[in-house]
Amino acid sequence: MADQDILTTLKILIIGESGVGKSSLLLRFTDDTFDIEQSATIGVDFKVKTVTVDGNTVKLAIWDTAGQERFRTLTPSYYRGAQGVILVYDVTKRNTFAKLNMWLDELETYSTRTDVIKMLVGNKIDKEKIEVSREDGLKFARRHAMLFIEASAKTRDGVQCAFEELVQKIVQTPGLWEMDHRPQGTFSVTDQRNDQDYCSYCSVL
């Protein structure tokens, strides 16, 4: 394990309708088990994750809206300062795809940055009853200049790639993160062995 500087700290949001699997995406990052019945006790507010992309180690603060989307409009503070947004729909539920415009509007309204990197994730591709084709997802993503990936939190397909691709794009957009550089000294890198393994999931696409 080598010591390595942390390039930057990024705020990533996961947004989308209830039940599209946002929390599962947040959860499915590096492990093997999948808890179908996610415990709904206190619930997770946010996570700090360390990822290494293209040799750059980056700390992510990842927030999902779980539960809050019931109130329709999230507090502006949720959006403040975010460099990346993962917009999730459920490929088996057309209405979650139809609501994407509303989520983009809300993002436009509250985002404090004009160059936020957006990624569209069509989730639950392991299911049989697909209502939103990959082509539809891709078209929507292109129209709104978003990255696009189809994923299954259950099989882990695409999930790691989604985060890595988003981080890669943010890091390649220096204006987005340079100002936020935190003078923190050095940190050690986490399990790079895992990071390597997951690259293979990109081939699903």
């Binding site: 394990m1 990052f29 590096t30 492990d31 997770v44 700090v48 360390t50 603060a61 940190f187």
Partner: protein, 115 residues
Amino acid sequence: MLDTSSVVSEGQNKCAVKCPHCDSQILSVKSAALLSEAHPLPNPTQPKEQHSPITEDLAEWWVVEDMFTFDNIGFSHTVGTTKYLVCADCERGPLGWHDNTSKKSYVALARVKHV
């Protein structure tokens, strides 16, 4: 009381701190300071229909000043003035707690693995 000698070096964590269930790395070597002070933490498993959680007093903690010092960690929603720390990958816990006022986090030595 744990025997901390094997995991402490100059008051800091000598080993990486990992989730005991899924091995997710929580803290890198020498990123947290040892604190010996009794503090209650809810038990990982609670009886059904338990209204106020059963806690145990734990005496040894890794103090983390800045939440971005963590390699991987999850923060629960706020309960009172604290958040509970859970594994970022398997979400098991609580592995410790976070004080919303001081912004410091406390990882229970008894609830994690030292590798």
